[in-house]
């Protein structure tokens, strides 16, 4: 069965503004979208990427130390997430999967909120309206429809916000993603489909999902698409800005395929050595998104030891605050388990909660001895 890696065959159609060796490549169509990115802005993008890689490493360590149950690393996808995330306006709204911690960072998420789900303290880390970003979606591709519906609402409101949905190459096989593109095209909704093709859906290579570049699918739905070097932060910024502008000015949806690579496991529970070649990882390490921006900065004299030290200090500080927030996170209260199932009172659930409260009190009461013996009887049954 031919499961060809699609990326190399079509390399020349990728939008790329920074080559893997750090050379700035001019691009007639896209340079204008980043003409305002000055030295300080480039340094800021560099810092963002260093910081989220540091967050990723710290969270992975917290998982290894038993402080988190699970963590989905973004290692290797920093440029795709920072480039697109930094293009957004505050009133845009993000509907992402569970790997977009870099995008959440751009949205201004509280660091501790990044970890609540993975520590088992909540099903969502933050109030979506506080940072205009929905909680991480676990059902693959489901959020693309939410983004499209949100964008339909924006259109009805006469606003010029944009909904941006993030998903992976695996998600493009889901019916929901395809239905989302149908709806987005039909209603010309201001939504951006930002696909991070990181080449792996857990153990399944992208060739199992698609035999043509994923970006080629969108025009079939009537949606313009672009394929961008997902390890090039400047190019990701440029294509996202172009898509945002199209959406804000009545041009409807855009599909962006950011070709990148998941350098880590799917989650901390995964073992990629079982299914992928070490050489492949090496090839992609040579295209590392941070290394190439560092090379560009260095060539321009923008990465002095002083700058590098300052960035590192910022990243270390963020990591320390992340760790502190994780360890000092208050435990949820028992009866929180019943909260917010409904907005309004529900007689079934109220009765169950009442019974459980009685049950808990029973063990706290003077009858504790009886309760204990009942309890052991239950266990032995």
């Amino acid at each position: 069965m031919p499961l060809n890696n699609d990326a190399d065959a079509t390399q020349d159609e990728l939008v790329q503004l920074i080559a893997p060796n750090g050379e700035r490549r001019s691009n007639a169509a896209y340079d204008r979208w980043v003409s305002d990115v000055d030295d300080a802005a480039l340094q800021a993008l560099y810092e963002d990427m260093i910081v989220i890689r540091r967050i990723d490493a710290e969270a992975t360590a917290l998982q290894r130390q038993g402080e988190l149950a699970l963590w989905p690393p973004l290692l290797g996808q920093e440029a795709a997430q920072i480039g697109s995330g930094r293009a957004l306006r505050e009133d845009d709204f993000v509907f992402s999967s569970y790997r977009e911690n870099g995008v959440a960072y751009c949205r201004g998420v509280d660091l501790t909120d990044l970890l609540r789900v993975w520590r088992g303290n909540a099903s969502a880390g933050w109030d979506p309206y506080a940072i205009n970003m929905a909680p991480p979606q676990v059902i693959i591709g489901a959020q693309t429809l939410h983004a499209t519906g949100y964008a339909m609402g924006v259109l009805a409101d006469g606003a010029d916000s944009v909904a941006v949905t993030y998903f992976g190459d695996g998600a493009t096989s889901q019916g929901d993603v395809n239905e989302a593109m149908v709806f987005a095209a039909s209603y010309q909704a201001p939504v951006i489909f930002f696909c991070q093709n990181n080449h792996w859906a857990i153990s399944e290579p992208v060739g199992l999902q698609a035999h043509v570049p994923i970006a080629h699918r969108a025009p079939g739905f009537g949606i313009p698409s672009v394929r961008v070097d997902g390890n090039d932060v400047l190019a990701c910024l440029a294509v996202t800005r172009e898509a945002l502008d199209r959406a804000r000015t009545g041009g409807g949806p855009t599909f962006i395929e950011a070709v990148t690579y998941r350098m880590g496991p799917h989650t901390t529970a995964d073992d990629p050595t079982r299914y992928r070649d070490a050489n492949e990882l090496e090839d992609w390490a040579a295209k590392d998104p941070i290394a190439r921006l560092a090379a560009l900065l260095d060539a321009r004299g923008l990465l002095s030891a002083e700058v590098a030290d300052s960035v590192k200090a910022t990243a270390d500080d963020v990591a320390a605050r992340l760790r502190e927030g994780c360890i000092s996170m208050p435990e949820p209260q028992v009866l929180d388990v019943f909260k917010h199932v409904y907005s309004e009172p529900n007689s079934w659930l109220d009765r169950q909660q009442d019974s459980y409260e009685q049950y808990l009190k029973y063990f706290d009461s003077a009858d504790a001895d009886t309760a204990a013996s009942n309890s052991s009887r239950e266990v032995n049954r």
Binding site: A124, P135, A142, M152, G153, E179, A180, H340, S343
Partner: protein, 338 residues
Amino acid sequence: MSTMTFGRAINAGLRRAMENDPKVVLMGEDIGKLGGVFRITDGLQKDFGSHRVLDTPLAESGIMGTAVGLAYRGYRPVVEIQFDGFIYPAFDQIVCQVAKLHYRTQGAVKVPLTIRVPFGGGIGSPEHHSESPEAYFTHTSGLRVVSVSNPQDAFVMIQQAIASDDPVLYFEPKRRYHVKGEVDEGVDLGATSMNDAKVVTEGSDVTLVTYGPLVPTAQNAAIAASDDGISIEVIDLRSLAPIDFATVEKSVRKTGRLIITHEAAQSGGLGAEIAASITERCFYHLEHAPVRVTGFDIPYPYSKLEFHHLPDLDRILDGVDRALGRSNSLSSRSGLEG
């Protein structure tokens, strides 16, 4: 008071809800110009515009998922699923998103979605057009499920469902769409709750619990039984999740006998839930085991056999005889059923 059909009453309720709240939008297949295959949304697109009554592409998961997105944006979408058997492509969005989003976000995101589902059989349709899928949804935490049995309730409860901040599945008995009844359009919506069951026929010997399309059948059974001197109390549940067990319990404490009838298949169905819950609540008041008169555990059959599958007046009365220990179709069997 005016006389209108069941379908027209829902239409009037939708119209009222749209007039009262500009955030109410209708979505579904063929609901615009056509007014829906059952004409329930007739005239609404013409009067409110295509931005409030949206003809959607033919993709139920797409409809449900975009409705969730609209809810995120502050809208109050009312989704029409064209037929009961077409809801399954949307099942994932309903169960994983619609039902859980409020819990997931600790109340930050409300999903005040109403999902209208024409359901049940008796209209001579091919497969997938006559199903009763309500138990899938009553088993799903985070959803409210209601079913209406008459034009007045249809008019009031569609507005109550839309006003609810929780997602509500609103099951419409499609074979009753043309039944006429009196509707008071001036009724105070706050005077009743869609969560409450209603005793629609008072009686003292047997409690007969049902909802939706079988309510008139049950009421006719009560009339027929009264000829034999048997007094049946009929309860229209109206809300299927949560069920108003207090009303059912009160009745069963009086009658000592419980019969549940629904079109949906028996095993794992609402009848089982009602029997178990009422047995838990008032076991010592029961004179007989609860009796279920339901559809069979079969895929919905082809139309020439559907009236064997659907509980009718005679099958309900046979169930009443069983509950009363009178001669019945199973009397000759050994065991408890007689």
